[in-house]
């Protein structure tokens, strides 16, 4: 019986993703605060904020349409579906055959589209500005992502994340220049997709410098809670994706039983923690770049990914 563990791990994985997402955001904020010499809020603070927002009465603009009401659900649903596909503590979950990297990008694009629609709903300058910039950044992030996927498609012969992860974990691929280049490219894409420094400042209070936050200015109450949750889920999704591709050790096969799952969970949490520390340190060291420098940043990621693919072409051609 492999179906039962597959279902169990899948449900457990989704529940863990949802539960840990706000905590991860809180941890990054706390780490950044400590690095800057501040006390920092409790890492559980995002959960408290979510609870507060859910209790509050939402306030909608007079001319808000059904788009403002429906898009947070659509975006969070799509992000949760993508999060269910990215392996966390276990391989071979129920939805593993669906865990295609292009599909994950598509689901994130769906969430982004919903967010931009919500931003444009009531017709404000900030919302429109944020939506236009977000979609423009995505236009540069997606080719870099797909070229990084190309490297894995060549190495593993598939674009299925679960299969790639298993293959890398078995050490079939080894250490390669291409993997390093793909890591750099995916890191840049992850920063842009999550609206982190240097592309966007997640903690800014100045509307003109906002991209992601500018789109949420009109949201309140449970709508804002859903958007916050979506952002947190996207961050944990990306960090898990990077962990699954570049630090594939320790992940448990689904059939291995609860003890192995526990070890896998430990490995996953350690990997997430390490990435969170790296993110906090990086964000503390770097300044936000001008909006029109972002294409250069993501263009460099694109070129690195292309270079990685060319390295692979050359090495497979020689072999």
């Amino acid at each position: 019986m492999t179906l039962l563990p597959a279902i169990l791990t899948q449900l457990l994985h989704l529940a863990l993703m949802l539960a840990l997402a706000p905590v991860l955001v809180g941890v990054v904020r706390w780490l950044k605060a400590r690095l800057m010499g501040r006390q920092g809020a409790n890492p559980l603070q995002p959960w408290r904020d979510l609870r507060k927002l859910l209790r509050k009465q939402p306030l909608l603009a007079e001319n808000a349409s059904v788009v403002s009401l429906a898009t947070p659900y659509a975006a969070l649903g799509a992000t949760a579906a993508a999060a269910a596909l990215v392996p966390g503590f276990a391989h071979g979950m129920l939805l593993a055959p669906m865990a295609d990297l292009i599909l994950i990008a598509g689901l994130l694009a769906l969430a982004r589209f919903a967010l931009a629609l919500a931003a444009m709903d009531v017709g404000t300058a900030f919302g429109d500005l944020g939506a236009a910039r977000e979609m423009s950044f995505a236009a540069f992030a997606e080719p870099a992502f797909v070229l990084a996927v190309l490297a894995f498609a060549i190495l593993a012969g598939t674009t299925n994340l679960d299969a790639i992860g298993t293959l890398l974990q078995d050490g079939m691929v080894g250490l390669r220049v291409t993997l390093g280049l793909a890591l750099l490219a995916l890191l840049a894409v992850a920063l842009a997709e999550n609206g982190r420094l240097p592309v966007d400042n997640p903690a800014t209070h100045l509307e003109l410098t906002m991209v992601h936050e500018a789109m949420l200015l009109e949201a309140s109450g449970r709508q804002l809670a859903l958007w916050e949750m979506q952002g947190a889920l996207r961050l944990i999704l990306w960090l898990s994706l990077l962990a699954a591709l570049f630090f594939p050790f320790g992940t448990a096969p689904a059939e291995a039983g609860p003890l192995a799952w526990l070890l896998g969970l430990l490995a996953w949490v350690i990997k997430l923690g390490a990435l969170a520390v790296a993110l906090a340190v990086f964000e503390s060291l770097i300044a936000k770049m001008r909006v029109f420098r972002v294409p250069e940043f993501l263009g460099a990621a694109l070129l690195l990914a292309l270079l990685g693919a060319v390295f692979l072409f050359l090495s497979t051609g020689l072999a």
Binding site: L54, Q57, P58, L59, L60, A61, E62, N63, Y73, A74, L76, G77, A80, A81, L95, P97, M98, L101, I102, G106, L107, A109, L110, F113, A116, L117, M120, D121, V122, G123, T124, A125, D128, L129, A132, M135, S136, A138, A139, F140, A141, E142, P143, V146, L147, L150, A153, T158, T159, E207, E218, R222, L226, F292, L306, A309, F313, L314, T316, G317
Partner: protein
Amino acid sequence: MTVALAFLLLGLLLLAPLGALAGRGARVVHGGGIAASAGFALLAGAGLVLGDGGVLLLPIGPPWAPLTLALDGLSAWFLLLLGLVGAACGLYAWVHEAAAPPRRLVPYPLFLAGMALTLLAADGFTLLLGFEMMSLASWVLLAAQQGEAERAAARLYLGFALFGAACLIPAVGLLAGLTGDLSFAGMRAAPPQGWAAAVVMALVLLGAGSKAGLVPLHGWLPIAHPVAPSHVSALMSGAMTKVALYVVARLALDLGGPAQPLGWGVPLLVLGAASALLGALRATQETDSKTLLACSTIENIGFVAMAFGLSAVLRAADLGPLAALAAGAGLLHALGHALFKTLLFLAAGEVQHGAGSRQLDRLGGLIHAMPAVALCALVGAAAAAALPPLAGFAGEWLLLQALLSAWRVGALGLQVLVAACTAVAALSAALGAAAMLRLWGLTFLGRPRTPRTLGAQDADPVSSVALLGLAGLVVVVGLLPGALLALGAPAVAQISGHGGVAEASIWLVGPSAAGSGYRPLALAIVLVLLLIGLVTLVRHVSPRPAARGPIWDGGFIAPPAHLPFGDPATQASAAGFAQPLRRMLGGPLLAAREAVRRPPPGGPEPARLESGFHDPVLPALLRPLLRLRDALAIAAERLRDLTIRQFLGLSFGTLVLLLALLAWLGAGAAR
């Protein structure tokens, strides 16, 4: 079955004169058009299920052979698409063209019949006949529009149509070869070799590519498509470009495709990538909704052309299953694009009818006045933005899978080229998403940009049926790509020379059993379950109903009373929303410029921001032609000043030259 199709064609031809009837002509023509289109769709579906119907000889034709019709897999796939698009356009026209003048009614059935004849042709002559009938009928539809810009668009269109014909006719001649056998069976038996194959590819690309809107011959499309009435725009963008792609697939890949060298499909791949990028980028910049949609058509045609070109490359490299995957991607995207682009054009027509404009800067907030149109257009826009689980994503997923597997070809140059094409495809898809967001958001969301928008009315029930039907079909194609490709396996086999996509069933479509698969139905189930769970949970924890208040807008003060929709300057304009991409990518590709003109120090006039863009390709093509025309005119002018002796000498010289030519040809024939 082919006989029934021939009768449908005949019926459409007979319908044309009825359009000249006063009064009831319009209903007769459009009713007949709907019936014929529905018949095409049904018979094409039956043809896909039942298989090949054999060749039907018609009792008419040129002196050397009868016209022939046949419904094979490739024809049936495109005929299905034409039937669905035609039926929806007919429903729209039933409502909005009830009082159209005969000059708009007579060519309409001929346009439909021309497209169907091209698709059903079983020999080169019938194919060209249908293609030219389609070109001319659509030109008449354009020329029937009033206004100087419209006339200029029609003239430009006619020029490109003539150019296309001048390229396609020799291409068919070369395919027929020395035997002169114009039937497809005869051409397939002797595919072109060597230089002839290269010339065929070039001529087909120029001839059919100019009709499909492949870069660099795309310049007429954003000018001509928006000029026509919306249902004709929809037919031109949704169906006619696909007919042109069918001609590419039929002549170049099916008839000329076997045993070609590796580089043979590369031009198609490269031109497809260029079209995808340029079309998508222009779509993010245009401010007229129908021009924007026409540019998005260039983008999607580019995707299909990429898929077909990749299929040819993979076939030449003897990678049959991957060639089939690429061909399936092209076919599926062609079908999906036909449906969602028709939907979007018809919705743009409804908006133009209801809100009085197709300029994005004069629309806004229409979701309140036109909810049904807004919903249907959202489905179309999301599909065009390649969002899962709709039709656009399925096609682009398959295309990306084919591109990601194409490194197996082995030649380093080709691998790098395909990697670059992969990046361009992803970039174009993301740009397309930005363009569709801008189109839908500026039209239906936000505040009204003109008071006229407030008087908008939702679509008439009959055209709502057309829009809802198309939206449903977009969802169905998105959810069942595997089943559709299993049905279209004969068409895939004709293009790629390999029998069907490896993994194609109701649940799954994918490149191979070992590779990654796309499971749209399962994805839809997961999404629906997650949404239900989410909504129930949030209802439970947060039950308080929402209150309404004024727009927060970052704390800006409320607008004065004389601005009932707020300050228009605090909402993005069409050009403003496009500004980030114009500055990031527009410079090199669209000759975009942006400059602030400041008054001299102390001057009282305001500073002005000047920005804009233009597509440099069409002027670059037309300028040499204009120069050539002027040069010829000057040369002809010079003839007028000749003396009588010089005139006589000229005539005598021409006579001697012709006689010498005759003698040379006669000698060649005698030998």
